[in-house]
């Protein structure tokens, strides 16, 4: 058993690009669900439409990289408007149904054989990250003992954590303002807010767009850090992992999604590495009849699910949440 490898895997994942993608996506969900109470189950849709906005612009249409970024962000905004206009006047559940359906529709369109010329079919698109990679100032990767990153990852985490920091700052600035107060009030009781002369629909739309833009940034960052845009990456699991990260950290807290995402990936990678080692080699720690090497990679998800259940029972407010706020719930 090599604990160094386990710790390296856990910390590298917690600080690495994958955690950043989920942190950004969860920041968006925090605006939607945590602050405004909008049930967006299709964050993966916002991610995929922005990602393919960039990839299609650069690869298919052969346009500049920065124009692709703009197209990607605009696509996320447009998606928010298209989803919001019919559903935000209705009860919260409708948004949930429509968003999850839309994210699946988008994923299937991007992976469809019929649109192979545009979206690249199930293999997706690549060759759009050249500009991003050329901006990399680092000469080599780093190995700090407990964490190690390749040259590309080092560049990605520099860009990624900067984006997370800017996004968190923006959320902090917005949520302490009267604007943020209106969002939180809408989460509590829409009609009360309406009776005080606030245009609830407009605020929900603004929140949906803002959170969708964070989702778009997450999607673009996701395809840049790996250099390819693959439709199957953007399945519903993506959204639910982001929700898991948000709930672990604590909804309606600025740093909740960020810390939640780090913990999520720390545990996923750490537990995965532990069980993979415990079941490999000539004389494994866990005997073959108990767990085989192929089962080991799945056990982390079982444990994660168990962990989430325990969290919801014993600390429903997440790491950062305020117990008092939760205690009042259900009236």
């Amino acid at each position: 058993m090599d604990f160094g490898t386990i710790i390296d895997a856990a910390f590298s994942a917690a600080l690495g690009p994958q955690a950043i993608v989920f942190a950004l996506a969860a920041i968006g969900l925090n605006v939607h669900f945590g602050y405004t109470g909008l049930l967006n189950f299709g964050q993966a849709g916002f991610m995929s439409i922005a990602a393919f906005g960039l990839a299609v612009t650069v690869v298919t249409w052969d346009m500049p990289f920065w124009l692709g970024i703009v197209v990607g962000m605009i696509a996320a905004v447009v998606l928010a408007l298209v989803l919001g206009i019919p559903t935000l006047r209705l009860r919260a559940d409708y948004l949930a149904i429509v968003t999850i359906a839309t994210s699946e529709i988008l994923r299937l369109i991007f992976g469809a054989v019929e649109f192979k010329d545009t979206f690249g079919g199930s293999n997706g698109l690549n060759g759009f990250a050249g500009t991003y990679q050329r901006l990399n100032p680092y000469g080599d990767g780093v190995d700090l003992g407990i964490v190690s990153f390749s040259r590309n990852d080092l560049w990605s985490i520099t860009v990624g954590w900067t984006l997370v920091a800017i996004s968190s700052l923006l959320v902090f600035a917005l949520m302490r303002s009267p604007w943020g107060r209106v969002l939180k009030s809408i989460r509590e009781d829409e009609d009360a807010v309406r009776s005080l002369g606030k245009n609830v629909f407009a605020y929900k739309m603004q929140a949906l767009v803002l959170g969708g833009v964070f989702g778009g940034i997450a999607g673009i960052f996701h395809i840049l850090k790996q250099g390819s845009a693959v439709p199957t990456d953007f399945n519903t699991t993506f959204t639910f992992y982001a929700y898991a990260a948000l709930l672990i950290g604590g909804a309606a807290r600025v740093l909740g999604p960020v810390v939640g995402s780090m913990i999520f990936w720390f545990l996923i990678a750490g537990i995965g590495s532990f069980f993979s080692q415990a079941t490999s080699g000539a004389d494994p720690l866990l005997p073959e009849w108990l767990m085989t090497n192929t089962q080991a990679s799945l056990i982390r998800f079982i444990l994660l699910g168990l962990g989430l259940m325990l969290l919801m029972i014993f600390r429903p407010q997440g790491i950062f949440g305020d117990r008092r706020e939760i205690a009042i719930d259900g009236r």
């Binding site: 923006l170 600035a173 917005l174 302490r176 303002s177 009267p178 604007w179 943020g180 107060r181 209106v182 939180k184 009030s185 989460r187 509590e188 009781d189 009609d191 009360a192 807010v193 309406r194 009776s195 005080l196 002369g197 606030k198 245009n199 609830v200 603004q206 803002l210 008092r324 706020e325 009042i328 719930d329 009236r331």
Partner: protein
């Protein structure tokens, strides 16, 4: 202000007691408002006028359509047909938030406090025209902090007036039922409405708090606002209202001063019941009625003088 008030009240003296009677200075004027739920005609109001500057009570049995009429007037529900105007401007098809901005603010039968916000945050939300509520200026505190401070001063004054200042930093969800009613009323005042509509302000409030709530409602009128409230508590209706509108089965069946309405046979039949003024443990009904009438007359005399 006092002169205006007595004028407004005096003006009502000449208003007929027929349903839908015209008022000398109506702030709300509506006609032919109907709303059906399935086969049921929940509201079918031929004509309604609310006098400016006085307290008008809307009473009637359960299911008479009082709350539905409230919802229709404030834009929370859409009527099948009908038109109504606030300060002479039509409110048909105007969304609820715009109705509130024009100065017609309501509270709810089941109080709607924002549980997970503190009391003072609940209050601040009520302020209108906040620069910090616009998305593009929200992120820059310097653009809205001075306005926020001014709103906070106003909110603190109102909290002190409603004796909620000790609860300033508590979550609104931790307040008692009566305190929630107070908070909702205070929050509505942050909007600075001309007409404040209270949906059962006394429901679930203990007798001691009821007294102070009565005082608060009167003080709203005394500072020049118009009050319209729905209530089942006849003591309250008798005590503070200047005019009473009675609804039954969606229609206005009678209106008038509290004294005249409570003596009106139609109202007694539809809502109050013959012995509404007597203690049910008493047996000698006739005696009590005579007593009550005498009392009412005395009160009427008092009000005249």
């Amino acid at each position: 202000m006092a002169v205006e008030l007595s004028e407004a009240r005096a003006a009502l003296a000449n208003v007929s007691n027929e349903p839908g009677a015209a008022k000398p200075d109506p702030i709300v004027k509506g006609s032919n408002i109907t709303r059906t739920f399935g086969g049921l005609k929940a509201v079918d109001v031929e004509h309604i006028e609310i006098q400016r500057g006085v307290i008008t009570a809307l009473i009637g049995p359960n299911g008479a359509g009082k709350t539905t009429l409230f919802n229709l007037l404030t834009g929370f529900d859409e009527p099948d047909e009908g038109d109504w105007a606030f300060n002479g401007k039509s409110l048909a098809k105007v969304p609820a938030y715009k109705v509130a901005r024009r100065g017609m603010v309501r509270t709810f039968q089941l109080t709607k406090v924002l549980s997970k916000l503190t009391v003072i945050e609940n209050m601040r939300l009520g302020a209108t025209g906040q620069r910090g509520e616009k998305f593009f200026s929200a992120a820059f505190k310097s653009l809205w902090s001075s306005q926020e401070d001014a709103n906070t001063v106003r909110a603190d004054d109102l909290l002190a007036r409603f004796k909620l200042d000790a609860k300033r930093e508590d979550f609104a969800g931790s307040l008692s039922g009566g305190q929630r009613k107070l908070l909702e009323m205070a929050r509505a005042l942050m909007v600075d409405p001309e007409l404040i509509m209270l949906d059962e302000p006394m429901a679930g409030v203990n007798p001691a708090l009821k007294q102070s709530l009565l005082g608060h409602v009167k003080s709203l009128r005394d500072e020049g606002r118009t009050v319209l409230f729905v209530e089942h508590d006849m003591d309250m209706v008798r005590d503070i209202s200047d005019w009473v509108i009675v609804m039954a089965q969606g229609q206005i069946v009678a209106e008038g001063t509290p004294q005249s309405v409570m003596a009106d046979q139609r109202v007694i039949d539809a809502y109050l019941g013959a012995h509404h003024d007597t203690d049910i443990t008493e047996i000698d009904v006739a005696d009590l009625e005579a007593e009550a009438d005498a009392e009412l007359d005395a009160e009427a005399e008092e009000n005249k003088s």
